[in-house]
């Protein structure tokens, strides 16, 4: 997946997470979460990946809150403080929790795969000007921060800030901030010179990217597109619509609903399959080295 063109990656995550977000079908949510989790953990196998528990607790909270505030539903399980807690509301909450978790894990994988240069590339497809602007901003913001810190340190070593006077310190830091803005404008002149010296502003410019569009990207784009369209068709025709209140109600299984489920399951597990395939292929290639 890492080596796919950013456009394909972006489209994939938009499709997989988007369908999951716009459907309340429990089957789709279960497979969306399964797909998101399997891909995330396969990619990060054996690595420390930071927090998981808080995300699950957040989902649990969402699942519990719904039946407390939502009293629709025909089947009353018990009464809490004079309010009925229904089975339908509990299930609805659980499905919401699944959707929340699935979306969170799709986004975690997304932000791992889409590094800043890939996002810039996407913007560059839309407008070369925006791409350049973003690229310059990405460069300037850390530079500004570094200069700010350097100036504050120098001033500190000149006894500019008094340790026991907060007002004085705030005033001092404001002065440092304002002089760093002057510095940024001043060094911006040099940058502008350097841009002009290399022909910036002399008419139309192109936007170069290191990412190329290979045949493999085309294949994946078509596959994702087809699966996405089938799923959307299933959602739009309400073949996979699911009713929670007042009682559960689902459309009778049909050819279209079966097709939709198969399409979405394939979509959700596509990255896992691709990643696993790559890992196996890599093991095999490695054995030949």
């Amino acid at each position: 997946m890492t080596h796919l063109n950013p456009i394909v990656l972006f489209f994939y995550f938009a499709a997989a997470a988007g369908i999951s977000m716009f459907s309340m079908n429990p089957v789709i949510q279960i497979f969306s979460l399964a797909g998101a989790l399997s891909f995330f953990f396969l990619r990060n196998a054996g690595k420390r990946t930071g927090m998981h528990l808080p995300l699950f607790l957040l989902a649990l909270l969402a699942a519990l809150l719904n039946p407390l505030f939502q009293h629709n539903g025909a089947t009353v399980l018990f009464v809490l403080n004079g309010n009925p807690v229904t089975k339908e509301a509990c299930i609805y909450g659980a499905v919401t929790a699944l959707m929340l978790l699935a979306t969170l894990y799709w986004f975690r994988s997304f932000s791992e795969l889409m590094t800043s240069d890939k996002i810039l590339y996407l913007f560059g497809r839309i407008s070369p000007k925006i791409a350049l602007l973003l690229s310059m901003a990405m460069r300037y913001i850390p530079l500004f921060g570094a200069q700010l810190k350097k100036t504050a340190q120098t001033q500190k070593a000149m006894g500019y800030f008094k340790e026991d006077n907060a007002m004085d310190r705030i005033r001092g830091y404001m002065r440092v901030f304002s002089v760093t803005v002057t510095w940024a404008l001043e060094s911006g002149i040099v940058t502008a010179d350097s841009m002009e010296a290399r022909g910036y502003g002399e008419g139309k410019r192109s936007s170069f990217a290191v990412f190329r569009f290979y045949r493999k990207d085309g294949f994946y784009l078509m596959l994702i597109g087809a699966l996405f369209l089938i799923s959307v068709y299933g959602l739009a025709t309400e073949a996979v619509a699911f009713q929670y209140y007042p009682t559960f109600g689902a459309q009778a299984p049909s050819f279209i609903s079966t097709l939709t489920y198969i399409a979405y399951i394939m979509l959700a597990f596509l990255p896992t399959a691709a990643e696993a395939g790559e890992k196996i292929k890599w093991k095999y290639l490695q054995s030949k080295i």
């Binding site: 200069q147 070593a157 060094s187 350097s194 022909g199 139309k204």
Partner: protein
């Protein structure tokens, strides 16, 4: 074939009656390496900028500039004329190395495939494959400047203009840069016009030397001829390689012979011309003085799991002493100054100032009449809009400073030249009347004139018993001012000695004069020492 022709070029800045450039006429051959030098304000940068129409300063221009016979205004200057400036950091436009290389080609609206090929070609020629996907901000100064050169070369220019490209680099990165430039010139017969004040290395590569003085052509000929014109011109000689300075100081009495330019030629010239009966000058011993700053087994690192930047650092500095620290990049020299100035806290060991631990100085008392720190980037010293405002709060009157900068009072600190800025920043530091002065690369980016001024100021401070600790790459500078010199290596100070001993025993970290005279004379590290030894010995063939 002439590639660039300049005819009767004069230039006036707006509101200025006197021309900055006066009636210049010269032409540059294709494939020539031309070095331009001259004092600050002699019009070097103005001349170079006029050759590049996008950067031409606003003002009145007279005369013609022709590139291959056509006026400069009609030339596709963006790709035909490459321009590299002084500051490595500010010239970079984008956040990734690959994007920076492609920037100029994007501006020409070239197709993806052509950009891909040319960028790849340049990256491999400059040995940047490993840096290709890196953030530009993560590169070292030398790498940044090579990237700037590469992203100009990718446009395939016919002529390359460079305005002090190595001024902000350390000596090793500067040598790398000059070597790359030489390679481009040699392999592609690229025409190069270079403003430079590190003439030591550039002089042997130059086909011709253009010396500007007050906007006029002082000399425009091969280096060997040009240096002959410098007789009795101490001001212009100051920036010349030390072989030229030594030989000029010795043969000022009208001898016309081929003068040496490089260390090797200088060495041969001295051996051929002078006797070596007296091998060394007597050295004054320093009186014992009390210690003012003591380091006791100091350890420092930036991150918990990082490497030690300072490890087991022990040394002391005496009152009124000038202590210079040399060492490679990233050895921890600046970190050491940071710890000494109390900005960084060591995790073990103590630093004592006047016998008192640094952390016992509270509420800024460390920085009042005790210790002052001049950082490498002196722009961080200034907070106001004019030089006068900078000194508004200080108790010291302007007349009390060891040098005069009253002509600069109304200027914005950022508008000062490199040398002026350094002097004003130093003055601002001195306003706190420090007894100990910490200097980080005080001669970086300065030309020979400004450097001489800084040296004079430091000598004056020494008279006043101010202790100076300077971190520097500049061997000639430290040979001039230091009482002791030390080498910083892997977090420790290795071997501290008097400059004479230190530089005459080192092979690489040493002055050009020492390399020129070693084996023939002993302990000779500065130009004036070499000159007085030669004079004391007398010429060969003369009666003793």
């Amino acid at each position: 074939m002439e590639i660039l022709t300049i005819e009767n070029l004069s230039f006036y800045y707006p509101m200025n009656q006197t021309p900055t450039l006066k009636n210049l006429s010269f032409s540059v051959e294709e494939g020539e390496f031309l070095t331009v030098c001259g004092a600050t304000g002699s019009g070097k940068s103005t001349l170079l900028r006029l050759l590049k129409k996008e950067l031409a300063p606003i003002g009145e221009r007279k005369g013609e500039i022709l590139l291959e016979g056509s006026p400069i205004a009609e030339v596709n200057s963006a790709s035909e004329i490459g321009y590299v400036m002084q500051h490595p950091e500010q010239q970079i436009v984008t956040d990734k190395v690959w994007h920076e290389l492609a920037f100029g080609l994007e501006n020409r609206n070239l197709p993806q495939n052509e950009i891909r090929r040319r960028v790849a070609e340049m990256a491999s020629y400059f040995g940047m494959e490993d840096l290709f996907f890196r953030d530009t901000s993560s590169l070292s100064g030398g790498q940044k400047q090579l990237l700037n050169l590469a992203s100009v070369m990718v446009m395939n220019p016919k002529i390359l203009l460079l305005d002090e490209p190595t001024a902000q680099l350390d000596p090793i990165a500067a040598s790398d840069f000059i070597a790359t430039l030489h390679k481009l010139h040699r392999e592609f017969s690229l025409t190069v016009i270079l403003i430079e004040h590190r003439l030591e290395e550039v002089m042997p590569l130059s086909d011709r030397l253009l010396i500007l003085e007050n906007g006029e052509l002082f000399a425009f000929e091969p280096p060997k001829e040009a240096v002959k014109k410098l007789e009795n011109r101490a001001d212009l000689l100051l920036s010349m390689p030390c072989a030229v300075r030594v030989s000029h100081a010795l043969s000022g009495n009208g001898k016309k012979e081929v003068l040496p330019l490089t260390v090797r030629e200088g060495r041969e010239w001295i051996r051929r011309t002078y006797r070596n009966k007296i091998q060394t000058l007597s050295e004054e011993m320093l009186p014992k003085r009390k210690k003012v700053l003591e380091w006791d087994r100091v350890f420092f690192r930036y991150e918990k799991n990082g490497a030690d930047i300072l490890s087991n650092l022990c040394f002391s500095v005496c009152e009124g002493e000038c202590f210079c620290i040399l060492g490679g990049n990233g050895a921890g020299k600046s970190t050491m100054l940071g710890v000494t100035s109390g900005l960084l806290k060591p995790y073990s060991g103590t630093v004592r100032l006047f016998g008192k631990k640094l952390k016992e100085y509270t509420n800024g008392s460390l920085y009042k009449q005790n210790l002052a720190y001049l950082p490498q980037d002196v722009t961080t010293v200034f907070l106001r809009n004019t030089v006068r405002d900078e000194f508004e709060d200080s108790d010291v009157s302007l007349a009390d400073f060891p040098y005069d900068f009253s002509s600069l009072l109304e200027k914005h600190p950022y508008d000062l030249s490199g040398g002026e800025r350094q002097l004003v920043a130093l003055a601002k530091i001195l306003a706190a009347e420090p007894k100990i002065l910490l200097l980080d690369e005080p001669t970086k980016g300065l030309d020979a004139y400004a450097k001489a001024e800084i040296i004079a100021v430091l000598h004056a401070l020494k008279e006043k018993n101010v202790t100076v600790i300077a971190v520097t790459h500049d061997t000639e500078f430290s040979a001039e001012i230091a009482d002791r010199v030390a080498l910083f290596f892997r977090g420790e100070l290795i071997s501290s000695d008097t400059p004479k001993k230190f530089f005459s025993e080192n092979r690489f970290y040493t002055t050009p004069v020492s390399r020129m005279t070693r084996g023939y004379y002993e302990n000779t590290v500065t130009v004036s020492e070499a000159v007085s030894l030669c004079l004391a010995n007398g010429e060969k063939g003369e009666k003793e």
